[in-house]
């Protein structure tokens, strides 16, 4: 079998499942879920250090960035200035150049503001960042981001944290067809089968946070997603059978006992 390599810019990832590190009960659960997901890249947020609590545990003490690649995000940023500030700080923390850009336009839907997003992608690419961009499922916007030099296109399946699954399959498939950079479904996946569907459609990867962290058993759900993504990818590569409106018997119709 031909080797199936998942590459974002020059970075090769073993798993096509990228997981978020938010919303878990604690850092022990975060670390366990990441391990059972098999992911080798995780998203992280940039926030103030709590200076009044010197003993507060740090994510890095539980999830080693030496073993798992950190993908700093701009969650909570509503404009270009905030996002650029966040990612420049992220780069300073430890030289991270591969980042996830998300600029939100509306608090209720957390829908991405594509005007700010496209503008900011251009600046970040110029500064040498490798930008994975959270975006709408509009093929035109996705194309613009690719033209700006985005390293991956990350359209939403449904609003962040909604768990609704892929809502506009047509648009996602148009984006997959036209893109030369990886397409990773980001946001809105609710359960393992949603991830399989995304992968069967030909997505290069999926990014999951809430669907794992908010499951009753996050560690087990992480494993479910691991296999869901592998399964969907293999299914996509295998090429599904043709659909038919009528039955086609599976057993030979010749030599029946009469």
């Amino acid at each position: 079998m031909k080797s199936d390599i998942f590459k974002i810019d020059k970075k090769i990832l073993k798993s096509r499942l990228i997981v978020g590190t938010g919303k878990y009960k604690n850092l022990i659960e975060t670390a366990k879920a990441i391990k059972s997901s098999g992911a080798d890249m995780v998203t992280v947020a940039v926030r103030r250090v709590n200076i009044s609590d010197k003993k507060k545990p740090l994510l890095m003490d539980y999830v080693s960035p030496k073993k798992i690649s950190y993908l700093p995000n701009t969650a909570g940023c509503f404009n270009s200035i905030e996002a650029l500030r966040t990612l420049r700080l992220a780069r300073e923390i430890g030289g991270w150049k591969m980042v996830k850009l998300e600029i939100l336009g509306d608090k209720k839907t957390l829908y991405p503001d594509m005007i700010e997003t496209i503008k900011t992608t251009k600046v970040l690419v110029k500064e040498g960042f490798k930008v994975l961009v959270y975006c709408t499922d509009d093929p035109l916007h996705a194309k613009k981001l690719e033209d700006m030099g985005a390293s991956a296109i990350m359209p939403l399946a449904a609003p962040i944290g909604s768990g609704l699954g892929i809502h506009n399959k047509l648009n996602i498939s148009l984006i997959i067809k036209q893109s030369k950079v990886p397409v990773i479904i980001d946001a809105g996946i609710g359960t393992a089968s949603d991830a399989t569907i995304a992968m069967e459609m030909g997505c290069d990867g999926v990014l999951i946070n809430s669907a794992i962290a908010l499951a009753k058993n996050p560690v087990q759900m992480a494993e479910a997603f691991k296999y869901a993504v592998i399964s969907g990818r293999k299914s996509f590569l295998s090429g599904r059978m043709k659909k038919s409106n009528f039955a086609n018997a599976s057993s030979p119709e010749k030599d029946l006992i009469s």
């Binding site: 919303k23 992280v44 947020a45 103030r48 200076i51 890095m60 420049r88 923390i93």
Partner: protein, 67 residues
């Protein structure tokens, strides 16, 4: 004495306190953090040299869980 703000909190520091001294004070030396002083990122090799003065605003950030 220097009255400054760290992550939005008012803090009084001794005279001639450097960025490095602030990190030590909060047990953050050696930890993966980034520092912004009055809106400008301070590179690690300047932590020792950079002294703090009245009304300075520092942001110390790190990575936390996020999606």
């Amino acid at each position: 004495m220097a009255k400054i703000q760290i992550n939005g909190k008012k803090v009084v520091l001794k005279q001639n306190f450097s960025v490095q001294d602030v990190l030590k004070k909060y047990k953050l030396n050696g930890k993966k953090v980034a520092i912004e002083l009055n809106g400008k990122i301070i590179p690690q090799n300047k932590y020792n040299k950079k002294k703090l003065k009245n009304n300075d605003k520092i942001e110390i950030v790190q990575f936390i869980g996020g999606g």
